[in-house]
Symmetry: C2
Subunit: 211 residues, 2 copies
Amino acid sequence: MQIAIVLYDRFTALDAVGPHETLARIPGGESVFVAERTGPVRNDTGSLALVADRTFADVPAPDVVIVPGGPGQQDQMENEVLLDWLRAADATSTWTTSVCTGSLLLAAAGLLAGRRATSHWLLLDALKAFGAEPTGERVVIDGKYVTAAGVSSGIDMGLTLLGRIKGDEHAMAVQLLTEYDPQPPYDAGSPDKAPAALVEEFRARRHYLLR
Amino acid sequence: MQIAIVLYDRFTALDAVGPHETLARIPGGESVFVAERTGPVRNDTGSLALVADRTFADVPAPDVVIVPGGPGQQDQMENEVLLDWLRAADATSTWTTSVCTGSLLLAAAGLLAGRRATSHWLLLDALKAFGAEPTGERVVIDGKYVTAAGVSSGIDMGLTLLGRIKGDEHAMAVQLLTEYDPQPPYDAGSPDKAPAALVEEFRARRHYLLR
């Protein structure tokens, strides 16, 4: 089972590392970070670089495709090298997945038309332009397509997918070993729960925040 | 405000990236990954490499020190270069923190004697040997020392610390932008909640799991 996690400039680090942490230990599995070129890829803060160990060409047929989001996603929406790879990898994948605005790259590749899907809460509407049907769920499964909401939701997606791949007991074991018993100090993690003024401010600054 | 996140061979990626994701956007702040040498540092699965952009010598006096855990922590317990840096950095830091077994490195540096602290649930006892007082809390604050439980708890720690540094509203904004509204598919994230058989199995295999 080969798991390919896509990297590109100004991705969001937790989008990629959440699923990696939960899925990279599948017995007999192989997790690889892939990008157009090998070498360090900087995240959206510029202060973190994850290494792409393989190029897209090196990994033509992964079993699981994971596409993180991040402000840099917008620069990739017309990158035919990336989009062509997504289409080709999807043709033989068992699972095609995304976290946050990574779903917009799957959508731009034409993979989410007519499918239920999600994205970062600020960009749910953008999915509609590609014929996808946005939902408010944190992890959305439609056939082999699994999309997760913003940033941290990749951990929930990773465990959900792990349960499908290796069974509930294995997934619970990983949850226990990663001590994933979340206790956020605030209850402000979704637009339904956060202070309304904060939600409005972010909606107004949406363009700035996502660049 | 300079935030230094320590890297070493076979660290656990989410331990480092959880706090980074929550703290690296502090306005005017600087987040740096530091290690004995600059360049890629491999995690515990071997399939992920994060780049250390600075050496310990380059970052003598960070405001916040963050030490991740991971199986490789055991190889660092007598690394005087790392331990000396921790002691020196701690002498002027505002916050000295850890995630998972990173607390054992703080303890080995002599920084947790007589303090309340935590670690991965499988290694809480090991803290006692250094004179620390283990607690069952997910995030433990004792003065300027903040220690978090296993792996994923670094996100809760990051938000908690962010609230102390920049105020509750700022921390809630980051929680909302990272859509940290966790919905784990299972309720097995702590030894109190996971199936007892799984907990027992891990306790029995503890030595193997942590190597």
